[in-house]
Amino acid sequence: MISGWSLSTAVTLPAGSHTFATVAIGVAVAGASNATVSGNNTSTNQGTITVMIIKK
């Protein structure tokens, strides 16, 4: 069964180059199996990250 994530936040940053990313970390719970996260454009799991820069 597919489980999804949906994250968003707004931050004020100092001027300059910044790198934005979505990362995954495995959680060591007893009995947990591996997971397949995201995928390419042929996968229904494909993730995306959008960054909007808004001038105040």
């Binding site: 994250l7 707004a10 995954a24 591996n34 454009n41 990250i49 959008t50 909007m52």
Partner: protein
């Protein structure tokens, strides 16, 4: 005063490019001629307390009034009051100035036919997409999901709005198998303080059937 005010016209011959420390005679209304391409005024000589002048650009070439430009002597410089140069349209235009004794500068008090300004908002929006699946073990440390990263030059005084969506599945082979993965947003490798974290549980569809029973 009972009567009319008349400021007699004088011709002011300028040249192409910058005109520094422009000498003006004892008049207050000047008709600019001479340039055959865009030109500029960086300063005007002969200012004195309260003197008012109107410059009428009779050419069809763009006039620029340069703000506090050091090509002219300090006492001859012009304050446009915008902090920037005033660029007029490539057509007839006019600008009125008055000399401030306390600031020893010419002050722009009126203008007509400024060039259309190009406003750069420095705003943008960009999406990137997953390029491959990532296998996450229970012991997998912080790993960027393939394709879900982008580097942007953020201008001063801006807010960055970041959003991410996607999905994962468990690779468990048994009916009661499951996976747990933490998904984060990061900026320059650091996890965001708020709003950028979800713990996602994935299980096999058979477990939904078991839950319904």
């Amino acid at each position: 005063m009972n009567g009319s005010l008349a400021l007699r016209e004088a011709v002011l011959v300028l040249t192409n490019a910058d005109n520094n420390n422009v000498a003006i005679a004892g008049y207050s209304f000047f008709r600019i001629t001479g340039p055959t391409t865009s030109f500029a005024i960086t300063g005007i000589a002969n200012g004195f307390d309260g003197k008012v002048i109107t410059l009428y650009n009779a050419t069809v070439f763009s006039l620029t009034i340069k703000n506090l430009n050091p090509s002219s002597a300090s006492a001859n410089q012009i304050k446009t009051l915008t902090g920037s140069d005033l660029i007029f349209a490539a057509a007839n235009s006019s600008v009125a100035l008055q000399y401030s004794l306390s600031e020893t500068k010419w002050i722009v008090i009126a203008q007509q036919n400024l060039a259309a300004q190009t406003v750069t908002f420095n705003q943008s929006a960009n999406s990137v997409f997953g390029t491959a699946a990532l296998t996450v073990l229970p012991s997998t440390p912080q790993t960027v999901i393939p394709g879900l990263t982008q580097t942007i030059d953020v201008p001063a005084g801006s807010v960055a709005y970041i959003s991410s969506v996607g999905a994962l599945v468990t690779t468990a082979a048994i009916a009661t198998g499951f996976s747990v993965v933490d998904i984060f947003l990061t900026i320059d490798g650091s996890i965001t303080a708020n709003g950028g974290y979800q713990r996602v549980y994935a299980m096999l569809p058979i477990q939904l059937v078991l839950l319904r029973v």
